[in-house]
Subunit: 494 residues, 2 copies
Amino acid sequence: MTATALCDTPREAARLAADAMDWLAERSPRERGELLLAVAGALDGAAAELIALADEETALGEARLTGEMARTTGQLRLFANVLAEGSYLEATLDAADPDATPPRPDLRRMLEPLGPVAVFAASNFPFAFSVAGGDTASALAAGCPVVLKAHSGHPKLSERTTAVVSAALEHGGAPAGTFSCLAGRGAGRELVRDPDIRAVGFTGSLAGGRALFDLAAAREDPIPFFGELGSINPVLITRRAVRERGTAIAEGLVGSFTLGVGQFCTKPGIVLVPDDTGFEQLVVDALAGATGGRMLTDRIAGGFHGGVGELLATGSARLLDGSGGHVDTATRHADPVLLAADAADLIRDPEPLLRENFGPACALVRYRDGDELAAAVDVLPGSLTTTVHAEQADVTALTGVVALKARSGRLVWNGWPTGVAVTWSQHHGGPWPATTAPLHTSVGATAIRRWLRPVCYQDYPAELLPPALRDDNPLGLPRRVNSLRTTTQSTRDG
Amino acid sequence: MTATALCDTPREAARLAADAMDWLAERSPRERGELLLAVAGALDGAAAELIALADEETALGEARLTGEMARTTGQLRLFANVLAEGSYLEATLDAADPDATPPRPDLRRMLEPLGPVAVFAASNFPFAFSVAGGDTASALAAGCPVVLKAHSGHPKLSERTTAVVSAALEHGGAPAGTFSCLAGRGAGRELVRDPDIRAVGFTGSLAGGRALFDLAAAREDPIPFFGELGSINPVLITRRAVRERGTAIAEGLVGSFTLGVGQFCTKPGIVLVPDDTGFEQLVVDALAGATGGRMLTDRIAGGFHGGVGELLATGSARLLDGSGGHVDTATRHADPVLLAADAADLIRDPEPLLRENFGPACALVRYRDGDELAAAVDVLPGSLTTTVHAEQADVTALTGVVALKARSGRLVWNGWPTGVAVTWSQHHGGPWPATTAPLHTSVGATAIRRWLRPVCYQDYPAELLPPALRDDNPLGLPRRVNSLRTTTQSTRDG
């Protein structure tokens, strides 16, 4: 990588990030929003070059990468809106009450940036979860300098994107350590242990994420580790739904589990399907049109081949159609793999079927009745998403499947989990092993929360209070004052 | 302990808590608020008996315990208000946008209870941080059943309080596992490892908290651990402040560090004082009136005696006045200990002076000038609080001491950190080693956040949506709809 915004060592990068902390934290939310808009604009300007580079390194295709670039710049612009709106600061003021027992001081609380953040880029979204992706955008929005550990799957793109981001930040007056980029697994481990790093964002594999989570927890001063790891993303299909729209569901499923060669965190990996409905054959038919594609890296291709092979070797699933996970080592080309299993087997020995196979594999697990479906749901692990395909007449029977909610970050009705809209209400998270931090999301407006911590000011002089907490509310923030939400813009709801 | 709400084993208690989960989670926020009010009312009714028992076991005195009981019931009532107000749910709705690229589904997000919670009671607040304390109140408010690990310092009180809480919950229709209580260190460790426990709240020592944090992080499925551990709570005093009100500050300091025999998480443990001002003598004079008192447990008394002895043995501090940490083993009586040290020594070898001595000990650390003060601040660890005593004319010079904010949960101006008001704006937390979770607080309205996780519903049918997210807003919640905050009650600010 070039010298621009690149540091020789993790220690150096973290130290520079710590040096940049005061400058970045002291910008007003709107000023930081301007920085994010400048980064978005710079990415737009370099889009053609970056998309070509990304396609060269990831083979994800121009159409998909163009969409992902739009999502990435849209994400930066959403956080600029979040900053301009200001309620993310949770500014809260309680006046002194000298008559209370005991007398109550003047207390004012807001969220402040946590400190320099290490971000681990993912392989499968070279824009949206990489150098200028959601973790970087939300951390910079919060006021936290970022040291990014680039993914080895797209090194040239990482270097160029870093140059574009760094130039935009520098042009906006940000000091050098505001954003920097490192490569190498050893560098990543060192970052997680670095005394100046105050939190970690990670998107990647269960094994890799767990190893880094353990490092963060084992520090003399443990730091928060926000890791998105593995997710099986179950789909439940009712008998009525197959009857009413079996072919459409089968086609939608194939589209979802083969999208991006199955390399999505939200790829549906296991589908609970009613027996004796012929649904499996509908999926086999739909799969006839699917062609597979080139996987992101040798490591991912090898993992996919090995994982499918191991599952078949356990006897928990059988091959219904497809390549059996074969990957052409020269081209990294993988064809879709469709597996079949029985809910009774899943219930008896869940582990093999619930291991994520990152790639275009999906297991159709046949259930007999509602009891067996409920028993199967009971063995499901935490997932980013759970999808239900059902008809209106199924709704009453499904009210009881509350267990779904306890295991999922997002519940999808008659749709598909791939595709994650970046909005105020999005949640991309979930219980272990989907993430290491079930209280938080890595996508959507509230992703900024991960990099903020509360600070309370007691009887503080106006001159030393942050503007967000001053009596005259110079930033025009929505705040909570003496228990009541106050607002500078409000509408009335329902 | 009696059989009421007591379980034989942690496994049994956690299983019952999991069984109670659906009932508790499905109550409306207002219904759970009613339960909390019922618990508060029951505690009021039993107050005389409970306070007498608490005094017998802790020797904290009737006046202090009466105040603490009021704080405890006030805390339950604050959470009932938080539930009635409803914005803690963060209900957020984004309408579908079929014209977006890609088309955007209908997305609705809210916070839902995390699952059964293990709470570790503290020794030093037998009401406010024990059986019916803030962790229990906030977890029940969130909709999470609680398994409490009682503190061995007040076993009879724990048993009676458990009976009072359980009876009130039972009367309100709550199933048995909603709240239960266990005793013993082994039981505590088992709880942290139990598969049904989804989060832990802890208030106690650095060593004990670290051991349990490590257990939680080492689980096959790591769970959030919200621990409040140790805090040195530094105080900075300017030369002008000593000149203007040295005697009053000295008296306030003695009051704060000897309150409750120094057994407060927020006890000021280290005070940076200007040299050549005679401030040490003012504190010695103020201390003449202090009498010490009986410590909470043999273990705490032994720890205090040992800790002060170790510090003196390092030579980092010298005894200015007091007992030298001597504790009468028969009565557990401890006198206040005043220590003196030099900032140069603190800067050279911070560790001995920065170890928390839980009990009535305080070290006055002399600094020569602003540079030495800044260098001393730079070695301070994370604390629950930092206190500044200064005059208006000092404000400009202190603007530069931003390092304070990075190390503190609460910043106190010309006051004392002991005494933690339970309000919307309170923050009782801070960077390691003050807590294991710098994003969260264990006191104040937002303490409920620790027990909630987001769930997002995509294109969900109205019948299956939680009431908080339905179009007609039947709970009358303040929500965010299509990016804008909406409100059913609002005032205008600033």
